[in-house]
Amino acid sequence: MNYFPDEVLEHIFDFVTSQRDRNSVSQVCKPWYKIESSSRQKVFVGNCYAISPERVIERFPGLKSITLKGKPHFADFNLVPPDWGGFVYPWIEAFARNNMGLEELKLKRMIISDECLELISRSFANFKSLVLVSCEGFSTDGLAAIASNCSFLRELDLQENDVEDHRGHWLSCFPDTCTSLVSLNFACLKGDVNLAALERLVARSPNLRSLRLNHAVPLDILQKILMRAPHLVDLGVGSYVHDPDSETYNKLVTALQKCKSVRSLSGFLEAAPQCLSAFHLICPNLTSLNLSYAPGIHGTELRKLIRHCRKLQRLWILDCIGDEGLEVVASSCKDLQEIRVFPSDPFVGNAAVTEVGLVALSSGCPKLHSILYFCQQMTNAALITVAKNRPNFTRFRLCILDPTKPDAVTNQPLDEGFGAIVHSCKGLRRLSMSGRLTDRVFLYIGMYAEQLEMISIAFAGDTDEGMQYLLNGCKKLRKLEIRDCPLAMQRF
């Protein structure tokens, strides 16, 4: 190690890209720590309060890209008070003050103000990418600042944020000289957008590969956009309500015939399902399909669509697909790796999705390793079958809408079912459980879930022993989410 000059080491470290690996590299010895720290460009901070921005700047002076997470996961479900924190302003202010060459910023569950967005847009000349996931505190005025001032913007990706909408003028703020856009996602915006400005923006963005529209973009504009952007790889359809006999529809079909590169499809925020046949053209090439915001798509039209998606790897869907629809998925989508089934009515639930759908998926999809499944009921027998069929699960998240519901057939707790899952799926890293559960399930988890890193528990267990089994057994556990379990926390 001593024989290599620093430049060579740095060059070697360039090939080490994963955050965890780079952290390991930095712990080998002091010289390696120094070189790694000075050359690192991408930093991930899982808890924005775990370290100060000044410390990050001091250690990584060459930082160009940062990911910050703020509020804990439970904040998504209103379990965290609204004034908890997670403000990004101190970070941006520190980066600006220290003249950092920030190019990429990704935030999750943080609060970002319009002033902060304005500061970003003015402080970092090479700023290229802004990704905001489940954030709040800003309005379309902040987006206008980003659009106006970031001359080399490549990516503006807004996922499920709570944005105050002051109407669509922000899109017009992209100057005519801005031609660098690769990815634009504004599906979560509630208000109208300037459609003419949108069309012009797409027309002057030859590198655009990902475009997700909000509900305010109607079909005739979509058709015009697709004609201008036939190289799109990822498309989020906005509003999809129209007459299948219309000229617009025919033009859409023509446009879609030219879009040979689309691999990912989402949106359909307002949809008339009988007109989906236009999209059958691009289904055969799709690897990712997200219809979890499309309650208008269900029944035979949905099943028809799915049958065309033979190469699907990722599917996000609503429970109105039903067990019958999941059986179609199981028989059509042999490459499926990840599926998420969301509730279409979170409080009433849709009786159409039960353990039957889960078993069908486990049996039909050999590559399935990641699942999030909201359902009405579950049985131990089904979970045991799933565990036998699919030992390759790495993420298994089951959410029964009635959180303490026992086995729907035997009325027993679901301990044996989840026990079978952790026993069989040796690579399981993430687990969320629900239904009636006793300390016994934690005994199983502690004994078998050796690779488990994250677990979410609610209304489970009887005594402290359950927790002891879990914490004693799962050596790799990093994140524990627990709510409403009968524990006397004094032991911990």
Binding site: F77, P346, F492
Partner: protein, 211 residues
Amino acid sequence: MEVVKETKMGFEETELRLGLPGNSGGGEGEMARKRGFSETVDLKLNLSSKESGADPNNLEKINSLQREKNLLATDPAKPPAKAQVVGWPPVRSFRKNMLAVQKSSTDQEGEKLPGGNATFVKGKMFSSFTIGNCGSHGLKDFLNESKLVDLLNGTDYVPTYEDKDGDWMLVGDVPWDMFAESCKRLRIMKGKEATGLAPRAMEKCKNRSYK
């Protein structure tokens, strides 16, 4: 793993609080105390029993009370809403709100285009708009509660609003401060659409106290 020595620790020291890290206990801001199990379920079910812990008997009580509540549901056409436990099911607020909006807009009457396959044109009467930040000194003058209610008095429509939790409430059911603080948008609904909204108002008043 080391055996944890059992020491007698006071409730205060072991109590979990959700608050900004770095604040020592005894700061001026109120931090949300972790709710016990009974309180969580109690919020929505209005159980009279305040026992802590979730022994099976308690759960059975909850389930039977839930069934009773369901039997008392006034609208036989709609399936009775299950008792809502706070933060369950674990669905992001954004998703819940989005689905609620989509549901209410498909529930509105649409027009069918003549001939051929039916398509639906949404008949929106008013577009939604947000109320901006209002200072403690007062409200923006162009709209207030009484103007809105007066406007619709005698018509088939009622003013409703969506609060921070994504729930739709009748305008006028909660105190004005609470309304102004929590209202995200307004919608004028047909009278029949708005049935069942009023009962939530009392729970909202109770729940807001932790802020």
